[in-house]
Amino acid sequence: MSSPASAATLGHIDIDHLHIHLGEPGQSLEVVHNVSFTVAAGEFVCLLGPSGCGKSTLLGALAGHLVPSHGSIRVDGLPISGPHPERALVFQQHTLFPWKRVVDNVAFGLKMKGVARDQRQRQAHDLLNLVGLEGFENHYPAQLSGGMQQRVEIARVLINYPRVMLMDEPFGALDAQTRLMMQEHLLEVWSRIRTSIVFITHDIDEALFLADRILVMSPRPGRIIDERRLGFGRPRDGSLVTSARFIELKRHCLELLHPGGKHPAYLERLSPLGKVPANASSFSV
């Protein structure tokens, strides 16, 4: 692995008056409304918001898969013009290549860059060690548990040394205990390979535990309705979640997301980049 916990100098994101419309022309729908924010190089930002408010849409635009209708997104000063390995995308689950062994999944980014087989396998081994999966190189993804699959996902995007990691509810499908373990693991990995992270979650605890700063979005069309620097020290551990400040922030977020304890109206579950397969568990052996 390259540099230790050095401060990142790349990965500054600048989003300016962004609007995104989805759907066929003529009956398109504004999903993201006038969103502006920045992410500093090496910063960990969590994006909270009710279901259907446009979080995944915003992330899809950051990744370069969706084209905004107004406004601009710049990374390190350059406008984005499509997907790029420097902006890594991690989904909830089931986006490993089922037909590739774990090591070849991780090495995929290097294969696309034309790196020789020997070298890319070596680097993939190193990254699998980093995420704690040594010994599973030759398994197929379906032979791993959900938590292990997410570790492979993380290793697979890190091999490109991205400036930015875009994570869309990456631990959303895991059970509570595995999820906690993965959160600590992500922070540990991030302390070694520093990138900017934009992390989407429904889970207020998760956002507060991970982030330097949280952004809260309104129901559709999504706007940023609150922004808060957390100021918790690092490294973090489980005791944080019982601290008075944490609980106060959690209450604040709950109030923002469910004003008056009410749940927002149910929205049709469409998705701009495809849904998590309904037969989610059928991938496991």
């Binding site: 899809g60 989904f91 290549f97 995929f108 294969k111 696309m112 197929y140 490109n160 495809g274 059928s282």
Partner: protein, 290 residues
Amino acid sequence: MTSLQPSLSLAGSVDTGSPDLSPVVASAASGWAWARLAFQAGGLLLCVLIWHVLASHRVPLGVITFANVPPPAEVLATAWDLAQSPKLGQHLYSSLLRIFFGFGLAALFGIGLGLLIGRLRWAHDGLLPPLEVLRPIPAVAWIPLSILMFPSSEGSMIFITFIGALFPILLNTIHGVEGVSPRLIASARSLGCGRWSLFTEVIAPGAAPSIVTGLSIGMGTCWFCLVTAEMISGQFGIGYYTWESYTVQNYAAIVVGMLVIGALGMGSSALINRFGKLLMPWYQPQGGRS
């Protein structure tokens, strides 16, 4: 979402544990396997027996009669004679060669076009409509026109087998390509996968299970069409042999021809399945029998 269940031929590297128990389990399992095999063989034997009784007593059943059906022993003798004669080799060679070219071309075009049509808007809009018009026409209905179109009967027979296998392969390929998850594609593109690598790295392997299904259905229709075409315009070939036996009233040979056709169809299907397993060691079809 359990992990690492100690099953499946996938890896072989997953330890099953408790080695002291396995011999007992294994011998019980093999006992069952023998019992099952005996049961299956019994079913087969029973069918042959019924055939023997019906044919040797020339049972007339009104709407169906067994008066002209040769009994199993006679069929066996004829099969033995055919196996000795050089004609068998000639018939097999002709038929297999036609299958090889007809099916090979169908696989090439079916998979190639299917990948394009499933993935690219212009291919979908430009190529699918003419194919949709041709699709409902059974391959056998092409026989008269193809005899007119091809100067050699060899060409027309290969064309018929090609048409027969093309559509199952094409449609299953399209179906497979359309089933590849958009998230998987987005992930691949974000990892630096370009437009063309996407086909080889993601689309083709993602569609592979469906393509293999198409190939195996296509192989079935391929034999069906070939046998029909040979009966009409063949010189050699196992379908021709079967029909010729009818015209010269060698009834036992008809049944021999039928059995050989069945065996060839079965063998080529097994070959496709074998090929699918080799190609996709990662793939586990769902479900099973109780």
